[in-house]
Amino acid sequence: FGLRRSLDEDFYAELEEALVSSDVSLRTATELAEYLRTEIRRQDIAELEAARDLLKERLVQVLSKEHAALTWPQELPGLYLMVGVNGTGKTTTIAKLACRAMSKGLRPILAAADTFRAAAGEQLEEWGRRLEVQVIKGRPGGDPAAVVFDALQAASARGADLVIADTAGRLHTKRNLMEELNKIGRVSKEKLGRPPEETLLVVDATTGQNALAQTKEFQQVVGLTGIVLTKLDTAAKGGIVITIADETDLPIKCIGTGEQPEDLEDFDPRGFVEAILE
């Protein structure tokens, strides 16, 4: 946006359109416009470029959180727990994280704790085969918490550094499924003697306002350490994370940019904001 010459009402209308069309909530877009109006007046800004930079800096500030880097385990084995609603890319992201861990010289083990969905275990096993990483599977319909427990056990026994655990996709509105997730979290924490190094909510960048409700519900039920925003290669802007960043303290740790194990990047607030504003 920003082909206008002057900072008039049309400028603010275009700004709102650019942000909302990227799935930033109207409320957040309005707050950003208010901030901009105040600062433009206060700093006596008349140039479009200066106003744009002001907005850019503000967005980068909103998106820059503490603990934005992935936490690698100090005590071994560590645990990454992947959670989120159906189809967002949890299982595929595990393959990417395993790849990342190995590039750091760590030895991961994968826990196929989605014991519900058809061929979920087989999907993760196939990734394990391709990456030459061990996969601990449960029996179909079995207790997912037990699979994570067994994987942590196996990791200790075999000297692996990190368990990356898959869970079944679940809508945050399903009480029994969220309770099941809460139990997985508790059992894992008890086995580790500390919370998992990462409990990552995997969010699809094509998701609209519902991602905010997802984040709040999952945060309550299982205590998140960060967000992985997937499918940014599909042209969706993923602007809802700006609203999420505005309303929670959660950092976006990584982004998914494709369907292969190498398609994972660290979240770069500045690059992300530039893509939103172009």
């Binding site: 909302v20 969905r117 058809a118 399903k174 599909t234 969706a236």
Partner: protein
């Protein structure tokens, strides 16, 4: 919710009179907010609210309802009309080939089995065709669900492309007197030229097929571009909106119908094979309005 908000906007309009332009403008701001919160596309909202504003301004305030309720009724009725109206006929389910297409993770594989089960209950003998050669264990996924519901699944046997698998499945269906063939395809981004090209090829080879775009109900503003890209490339028969058992308001539905103009056939309401229902415009309108 929107009803409460509009009631309070119009609280002062107690006596009988006309809806003033200012009151309608205030109400329309609330409607706009509600629709954007529901993921209705920015431009679709703009046109829709302008249309409602026109309809509502100067309208006589009816004796029996409050002005707020009156605006709500206009909004609701306009939404239902835009979603295809209640009179929209349900799909016949008579095609011999169905192709399920869409973005990654939208629910195509699960929905293929759901569609098969629903057609089987209507007396047909569907064959599910697993043509996703890329996603790990995609074939197993469809084969597993197929066996769970008692539907035959055609699996690849060395074919190099998805189109070859689809053609082999068709051949098999004729030999076994199975119909229709429901083709599950791999997820793809509407901006992926290569994959969209491959899909266009498959569609061109199956001109009589009913092509259904499977879209996640929580899809945001990008829904319009996605739907339009698939429509331009494939000439869709309709849409299936999935994961409506969540609390996403589903405003993408309005984008599909209003912009692309093809009907929404079904909605997915759960992970089980039975969780497929016909699309109802009234119900969707209420959901979008919150």
């Amino acid at each position: 919710n929107l009803t409460d908000k509009l009631q309070s906007v119009f609280k002062k309009l107690t006596g009988k009179g006309r809806l003033s332009p200012q009151d309608v403008a205030t109400a329309c701001r609330e409607v706009r907010l509600a629709l954007l919160e529901a993921d209705v596309n920015f431009h679709v909202v703009k046109d829709f609210v302008a249309h409602v504003q026109e309809k509502a301004t100067g309208k006589e305030v009816l004796e029996s309802v409050t002005p707020g309720q009156q605006v709500i009724k206009i909004v609701h009725d306009e939404l239902v009309a835009l979603l295809g109206g209640e009179s929209e006929t349900q799909p016949e389910g008579t095609a011999d080939i169905y192709m399920l297409v869409g973005l990654q993770g939208g629910g195509k594989t699960t929905t293929s089995a759901k569609l098969g089960l629903s057609l089987q209950k209507k007396g047909r003998k569907p064959l599910l065709a697993a043509t996703d050669l890329r996603r790990p264990a995609a074939i197993e996924q469809l084969a597993t669900i197929g066996s769970q519901v008692g539907l035959p699944v055609f699996e690849p046997h060395g074919e190099k492309t998805s189109l070859e698998v689809a053609q082999a499945a068709l051949k098999h269906s004729r030999a076994e007197s199975l119909s229709p063939v429901i083709i599950d395809t791999q997820g793809r981004a509407h901006v992926d030229e290569e994959l969209m090209g491959e899909l266009a090829e498959m569609r061109a080879a199956l001109p009589a097929a009913d092509v259904l775009l499977v879209l996640d109900a929580m899809t945001g503003q990008e829904a319009v571009k996605v739907a339009q890209a698939f429509e331009n490339s494939l000439d869709l028969s309709g849409f299936i909106l999935t994961k409506l058992d969540g609390d996403a308001r589903g405003g993408a539905a309005l984008s599909l119908r209003a912009v692309v103009g093809k009907p929404i056939w079904f909605v997915g309401t759960g992970e089980k094979p039975e969780a497929l229902e016909p699309f109802l415009a009234e119900r969707m309108a209420s959901r979008i309005l919150g």
